[in-house]
């Protein structure tokens, strides 16, 4: 293990390390702590200039419920769910099928070029897609609808998901598939009964990652959505920022609410999340 385990060094170094840890963490998360403190203080504090000091009173419930009663934060949150969940299901499902095709058929000559197509597409800048995708949405009457956003996100995320899924399936023992074929099991049955149960960890990893990516998307929400009642929470927070001018306690409460679902997702599914981010490079 590198660096050398701290247990091997002198007692004073060990104490120093244990003191340094929480200090470093507080400095690292200072922006978050500050916004949390802002979100629980009364408006009076901010007007009188007490922005980073101790709050004069704690208004956690008042501020957070005010976000919902004085703005459309509830609608924005719901819209985000309506965009995120279907996207998650569609892109992971398509990637399972495509990843299987690209990993299992050894004689399939197009496997590598098509795989690279998915990989490359996943990295292109959004702006090169913006005008045609917006135009396509207008022409298919999906502009300014949740459906339009779901369709685009699903298609785009399929690239990343296929990259991940293909590599995961490729690492499975190929003999399993071969022996099933010799037994005469149909191709779809091999996929459904043999491979799909084995890729469950990959499905979990992709689900949490896609959830986070889509929940945090801002660019497409501004390009493809116009109507206030269809905005997802990221674009909604910006709208709130304009609405709650200088009512920082409310803006920060809304921001923290917007950040909450991905944070919860990360804490609940940490192992899968990290496996996904490192493109499955984790071992234990």
């Amino acid at each position: 293990m590198f660096p050398a385990p701290i247990e091997r060094s002198s007692p004073s170094a060990q104490i120093a390390y244990k003191v340094a840890l929480p200090i470093a963490l507080v400095i690292w998360l200072l922006p978050l702590l500050a916004i949390f403190m802002t979100s629980i203080r009364p408006a009076m504090d901010i007007n009188s200039g007490n922005v980073f000091g101790w709050p004069s009173s704690f208004q956690l419930l008042e501020n957070y419920s005010a976000v919902f009663t004085q703005s459309r934060a509830g609608t924005y949150m719901l819209n985000s769910v309506l965009v995120t969940v279907p996207t998650m299901i569609v892109s992971v499902a398509l990637a399972c099928l495509a990843g299987y095709a690209l990993a299992i058929y050894r004689d399939f000559k197009w496997a590598l070029p098509l795989f690279f197509l998915f990989v490359a597409g996943n990295f292109v800048p959004f702006q090169i897609l913006m005008v045609p995708v917006r135009d396509l949405s207008v022409r298919t009457d999906t502009y300014d609808t949740i459906l339009g956003l779901v369709l685009f996100h699903s298609a785009f995320q399929t690239g990343f998901c296929t990259l991940f899924m293909r590599n995961f399936i490729k690492a499975l023992p190929y003999e399993l598939v071969e022996s099933a074929r010799i037994e005469g099991v149909g191709e779809f049955k091999i996929f459904w009964y043999l491979v799909l149960p084995l890729v469950r960890p990959a499905i979990a990893a992709l689900a949490v990652l896609v959830f986070t990516f889509i929940w945090n998307d801002f660019f497409w929400a501004t390009v493809l959505i116009q109507g206030d009642d269809r905005l997802p929470i990221t674009a909604g927070v910006r709208a709130l920022n304009g609405q709650f001018v200088s009512q920082w306690q409310l803006v920060s409460a809304a921001s923290l609410l917007a950040a909450m679902p991905p944070v919860l997702m990360f804490f609940l599914m940490q192992k899968h999340f990290i496996a996904g981010l490192t493109l499955g490079a984790t071992k234990g």
Partner: protein, 317 residues
């Protein structure tokens, strides 16, 4: 084996009697499995890339004529020549380079934090997850947080400056400082990402090699440079890739913090493209697409390199 053919009821015999589709199923099956993903991906990703390149040769405001035909007018390479004389384009390009260079700091800093946290004291798992926090949060929220931080009247920056008796700078309103301010905010989540890549990488470093290095008297920087870093190369490569992509994709923070201002001084190509194509003074799809094509070309250099490396790895295995 031949065993199967001797039994009339066995599946192999059945299979051969199904006809053309069944005989070719091994050839057809991959296409059937791929079809949904491929069609979807083609419609929303692959074809739009070529359409954008095509649109960049037109002057178009996105509208149709009354008779339903497109109002786009062919202008050939004119947009690209216009870009050469466009100061805002050069500012954006310069800022993109700045982003690319300074964003790279996320890789060594991420490594530093990963080394700091790679211990086994109690509660370290919680510390690791909390250090990763900034990456999970949407960039919109990060942008908002740092906008307040930089506010000269209320923000922490202002308070620190006042503590030293100095007049606080208005970072986001200063043409020379604004881009650095946004990049600094952008580094926060990016460092967290690089850190997690390195923490995973450090987990996979072979312990026997470390011990062997220790026996040879290597420690500290020498150990890091000659024994650990070479083994961390996959993590480093991935960290560089995601950081380059992240730097060139930067959009959310600029949209939230400055909208490219003041006077376009914090613009980058991605935001300049958006601003031009969906401008308040009439959409300029053609010119916007030309900017997008330039950004795409820059990105393609990195993507090609990445694909080339993957291709080499694939052939190796």
């Amino acid at each position: 084996m031949s065993d199967a053919t001797t039994h009339p009821g066995s599946t192999v015999v059945k299979a051969s009697s199904y006809g053309w589709f069944h005989r070719n199923r091994i050839k057809l099956a991959p296409w059937l499995f791929l079809a949904p993903a491929l069609i979807f991906f083609a419609i929303y990703v692959v074809i739009p890339i070529f359409q954008s390149i095509w649109i960049s040769f037109y002057e178009w405001n996105g509208l149709d004529n009354a008779d339903g035909s497109s109002s786009a007018v062919w202008v050939g390479l004119r947009h690209y020549f216009d870009l050469l004389d466009d100061d805002r384009f050069y500012t954006s390009l310069k800022n993109n380079v700045l982003w690319l260079v300074l964003f790279m700091l996320a890789v060594p800093i991420g490594l530093g934090i990963a080394l700091f946290l790679n211990q086994t004291v109690t509660g370290i798992r919680i510390y690791k997850s909390l250090f990763f926090f900034p990456f999970v949060i949407s960039q919109v929220v990060v942008g908002l947080i740092f906008s307040w931080f930089y506010n000269p009247n209320f923000g922490i920056v202002g308070q620190v400056w006042e503590f030293f008796g100095a007049v606080p700078p208005a970072i986001l309103a200063d043409e020379d400082l604004v881009t650095y301010g946004i990049i600094f905010a952008g580094l926060w989540p990016q460092i967290a990402y690089c850190m997690i890549l390195y923490l995973t990488g450090l987990n996979n470093v072979a312990p026997d090699q470390i011990e062997a290095g220790r026996l040879d008297g290597a420690k500290g920087w020498k150990m890091l440079w000659y024994v650990v870093l070479p083994q961390l190369w996959p993590a480093t490569f991935l960290a560089i890739v995601v950081t380059v992509i992240g730097a060139l994709r930067s959009f959310d923070m600029i949209a939230i913090m400055t909208q490219g201002g003041p006077y376009g001084s914090s613009n980058v190509l991605s935001y300049y493209m958006y601003e031009t194509a969906l401008s308040e003074y009439g959409y300029r799809y053609g010119y916007g697409s030309a900017i997008a094509v330039v950004l795409f070309a820059i990105m393609m250099i990195f993507i090609s390199f990445f694909l080339w490396k993957m291709w080499r790895d694939e052939r190796g295995s």
